[in-house]
Symmetry: C2
Subunit: 515 residues, 2 copies
Amino acid sequence: MLTRVKSAVANFMGGMMAGGSNGDHPGGSDLPLKYPYSRPEFLGLSPDEIECSADHIARPILILKESKRLPWSTGYAEVINAGKSTLNEDQACCEVLVVKRRPAGISTPNRTPTTRRRSSLPNGEGSGPRDCPESSDNLTFHYWAMFDGHAGSGAAVMAARLLHHHIALHLQEVMEIICNPNLTTPTCLGEEPINHHLTPTTSQRALTRAASLRGAAGAPGSPSTPPTRFFTEKKVSHESLVVGAIENAFKDMDVQIEKEKAVYNVSGGCTALAVVYLLGKLYVGNAGDSRAIIIRAGEVIPMSAEFTPESERQRLQFLAYMQPHLLGNEFTHLEFPRRVQRKEVGKRMLYRDFTMSGWAYKTIEDDDLKFPLIYGEGKKARVLATIGVTRGLGDHNLKVHDSNIYIKPFLSCCPEVKVYPLAQCEHGADDVLVLGTDGLWDVLSNQEVAEAVTCFLANCDPDDQHRYTMAAQDLVMRARGVLKDRGWRISNDRLGSGDDISVYIIPLVYGNQQN
Amino acid sequence: MLTRVKSAVANFMGGMMAGGSNGDHPGGSDLPLKYPYSRPEFLGLSPDEIECSADHIARPILILKESKRLPWSTGYAEVINAGKSTLNEDQACCEVLVVKRRPAGISTPNRTPTTRRRSSLPNGEGSGPRDCPESSDNLTFHYWAMFDGHAGSGAAVMAARLLHHHIALHLQEVMEIICNPNLTTPTCLGEEPINHHLTPTTSQRALTRAASLRGAAGAPGSPSTPPTRFFTEKKVSHESLVVGAIENAFKDMDVQIEKEKAVYNVSGGCTALAVVYLLGKLYVGNAGDSRAIIIRAGEVIPMSAEFTPESERQRLQFLAYMQPHLLGNEFTHLEFPRRVQRKEVGKRMLYRDFTMSGWAYKTIEDDDLKFPLIYGEGKKARVLATIGVTRGLGDHNLKVHDSNIYIKPFLSCCPEVKVYPLAQCEHGADDVLVLGTDGLWDVLSNQEVAEAVTCFLANCDPDDQHRYTMAAQDLVMRARGVLKDRGWRISNDRLGSGDDISVYIIPLVYGNQQN
């Protein structure tokens, strides 16, 4: 009997480890996995525990064990979906990394990771003196990220393993600058400052381009242009370098997924929400529909915006208008309130194009019978009738069903990065950064989350390091709800989320202690 | 002597009426003018007064005469630039229009204007009972607009004469809907509501497109998709129809300028800021760098955002990346903090592309020696080294100096429309909407304007209908300053604006009285 159970478990786990069968890469199953499916490393789960967690009926909430510690006493909890996919397609990663300076004389980027984890991590990092004092040789950053996969877990698993290394590589390139607060960001590396007034640029023709309108010196009819106008130099802040590093790290991660798909089975795609704490500031990079909010003294400060077919409609329609071949002669870049029917050709119907936020009527033509690029409302809105999120990693092979139309050109891997000057603000023990996948935010508003967290933490022992994980568990519970009459129900008899739900609660007071 | 002076004046005016010599259409001077240069019609200036106003040394401030009245007792003042162009390139228009219903049975748009001015306008409109009660036969709207021209006054003059007619035409198309507050906006005109559950759409193939990701019904691995999902119908508000009407009116105005350039001399381009008051709401459409703010109880509510090379950098870079031929092999879509020099090829320099808001280093290649698409900072930022504003009307013939590269593809004629629910808010006599061209906002902040206007109005006789014009005059004076040591100086010895400056001050309390 035991053997039969074990065998069933082994089969189940085998299926899980293969990354699920609903990938976007039908031929991919012949390729080896780059990384097996798992739950976040910091949870420290055994294979048995992972199996038990994947119960779509009971939906047990997984939390960080008391014996495990994350930086800043970060809290974490998660639950699997109610059956929409075999695996929990959310993934998470939390690390403290030390970036080492590149050997001198190497001016091109060294693509070998030179980061290392802080030795005390992921367990037992305290708030005592740091083992790696900040210098231009060692740059420490804290990192929290969550990834919400779709059409397979491969991309989410890979991004959870690697995105922070890409961030570290890009930070490494600028660490000598950003570690020196008095240093002006050099425009060009490895050269003396240029005397702009004495050195002519290469193109004399550009210099004579004085036909500059709108009233500045050089406008037609105004006195002649002083050529120095073309030599002004923009000042770039250290903060902008970190933002640029995170932006380019997302792009590199996406390129790596694409490349490794040639030799590994990396299924699906994922959203990515990554937080970097560096030199007193929090950087929140978001590509997708996860969300980050800061709760400070009970007030909500949004730290991300969601990227969905509705929020990015005009960008996507603009791209389709510019490159109509991407629509494969099957879709139209115009939006209509519903599908157009053949009998309506010649009538006037509401539409909007990429330039419009309002609506107007147009006479329907044959071309308008094509399926709209963006269609549906709210959570049901889709790009090319296929995908409900417009930024993220992976999805390189994703096509419109039964066609050769690729989705990827419409998806962006570029995050929006928001910055919070943590060290400049005072924080109490109940001030936190909450990160959640859409499973949380689909059913709870920012205000509901803020009230729940504030209320929960106020009732905890302030010295209990586990309180943030308990608060995260409470949030997941509130979003999942309880099983009643065959459905998951939350407060006021609303429907609970049937999606995977993952939540970080990061206390901000530890950031203040680091500085 | 008198004869000689008169002759000089005639020559001067002849030059002015020809639209100036700094147009963007060198051949255009052979074509007849569609409309002569003038100042806003509501100022009621004589040719002599127009001549005196064009004094670049004295810069007299023109205001609405006490004998002239604008709707809602709107105040207006303007001043010419300090010499950057011969003519005042700002233009303005203010009207109350009545849209008449199209004859029944005509389902295609009737392109003949069917609007008329309110008989009592522009002089003497009171706040008494209206002569045209609102009905589905007569739709009244109030209209204020300002246009800031460049490279000639032709486009601004034409837009000031015609934009409101385009708005009226588009409103006419939807007036039967928006005049009936209980009517749901029909998706398709002239047909019975469709029973979506019984009528299949034309494309069965699209119906089977159930490969929809991100967890909604129809995702792979989840229960089968109910086909009704594809029949959901978006609800479109009446407000969205007005927004769409204004958006499309701007586009039609731009097309008309382009067409009439073939037969008339229509020089240059212009920004456009247009306000429509209709059925209890203010709609503020902006394409350019003019600005509208509401001042309510001394607090500022921004009603527009500026479109400049800096604010639209990513849109422009994206377009250039998608359609590199628009750069004529002379410009690069990348941004650098300054011009790249040939000796820097191979070195690493700061850059950013359309995906980035931060900065990073890249290895400089030969291609990076091209001039950047966006270059310069603040008021000196330029697109293609030519123009400092990225939305507006006209400019169809504008090219990069000494090249065949057109600017127009990068300029958008589409406004952003913001809505203010005027009738739902209480207003006092000192609550106003301020519209100003960039000449005002370049030197005064929103806060400074709000304080100046609030303070000025508080010291006026509340029954003085001329108070809003006096407040507008005060603002223009504060932005122009006084001539000191050969320069225009404003408070705190800052530089005054040397640009054309135009200001409307529109009291909001009259809007409340109309409802």
